[in-house]
Subunit: 222 residues, 2 copies
Amino acid sequence: MCAKKNLPIDISTEEKIKAAAKKLFTQKGFSATKTRDIAEEAGINLALLNYYFRSKQKLFEIVMRENVILFIGGMIDSIKNNQHLTFEKKLEILIDRYIDTLLANPDLPFFILSVSHSGHFGGDEKDPLFNSMKELRTAFFKDIVENIQSGHLKEIHPLHIISNMMSLIVFPFAAANLLKARTGVSQKEFEKLMLERKKLIPVWLKAMFANPQELKIIKKKK
Amino acid sequence: MCAKKNLPIDISTEEKIKAAAKKLFTQKGFSATKTRDIAEEAGINLALLNYYFRSKQKLFEIVMRENVILFIGGMIDSIKNNQHLTFEKKLEILIDRYIDTLLANPDLPFFILSVSHSGHFGGDEKDPLFNSMKELRTAFFKDIVENIQSGHLKEIHPLHIISNMMSLIVFPFAAANLLKARTGVSQKEFEKLMLERKKLIPVWLKAMFANPQELKIIKKKK
DNA sequence: AGTTTATTTAATCAAATGATTAAAAATATA
DNA sequence: TATATTTTTAATCATTTGATTAAATAAACT
């Protein structure tokens, strides 16, 4: 009955199901994805889905968790592993990584918006993932507040900064179909433009939120 | 059999269904919304849904159409009815209206992203709505290109400008749950911050895309 | 009023869907 | 090899779900 008494010699079935589920759930969401679609995509018997994952819901939760980790993992790394760098530098690294991740997983932003919108991602207190997010938020806020106090950033509610940063990075991917249709650019061009944004977004953020040099000095003095 | 031989004296049943459908479809999307949920929300017999709207699909298309109109209607107005104003002024008006619309319909952005993501909104050539969008796009592009040529805007791909404008306006609403959870702001605060953005977004856009005054003059001369 | 038409209801259908079962096949273990 | 265990399969179940029907009620019309 149990799928995991011994180490799985052939991991492929379980992995095939998860990969198929990830593809379809990420593309079409929970309700629009049918277990039979997943089975077909994975090329396995329908019953194996329940054999390995108990239920559609459980499978979805595993996929969701992996997607959330993929989505915020890069952020956590960029912030945590570069404490010594300036906020500006950290952001540059974060943006670069993020856009690579999104180019490789273009459906990810919509999936994340989807689960947060539907409340599917509750955010369990005991969940280590929940704690990682909390830590990330704390670290990020600290950076922002410090940079405001030191005069490097304008005085403004941190939500605006976080929101605009996320917007500029993530939104084009979430709205890719809309933008491509409306502007008539091809997929190739679209990807090229997204790569351009690696350099542009840091410049834009600075244009929006950095204090002019003079003020920075004045503020530091008093 | 036909629901519309005479003018409907009592429009309420049909309207009640549509209102319930709009609420649920907009909140949860097509697949996650069940016809029985709609019937219950509307307080009517399930059969009436099919009596008035033939099918779930048809009802969804009507709701989608109304939502799309709501979403881009304000944009079309702002651009078309203010041809005499500068691009900058037009944008200010557009942003102001848009944020009001989104505060009143906070689920709208996610719904629009959702249908464009799933390809539910095909964009029928014969559809007048499709043409409106096309006109809007043309008018917008024209404005942008003109302002680049006159030196008011930096030389940059129009997609970046459109994308960033949409991002800054729309994304916070699409990611509201995510942002609120991550920054710990309440609904009240969130709405206040969104109102703030009416003034902030034009400033930010200018900071990102406007040419410094000197260059403007130089470019005009040659 | 009486007749026709439109609306509403309860019951039901057929297909889709998530899940289970019992037996077969494959694999590991003794 | 014989036995036990794990994996896979086809068949089936029980609900859910979108849709229809026929009868009942309400409204409009003559």
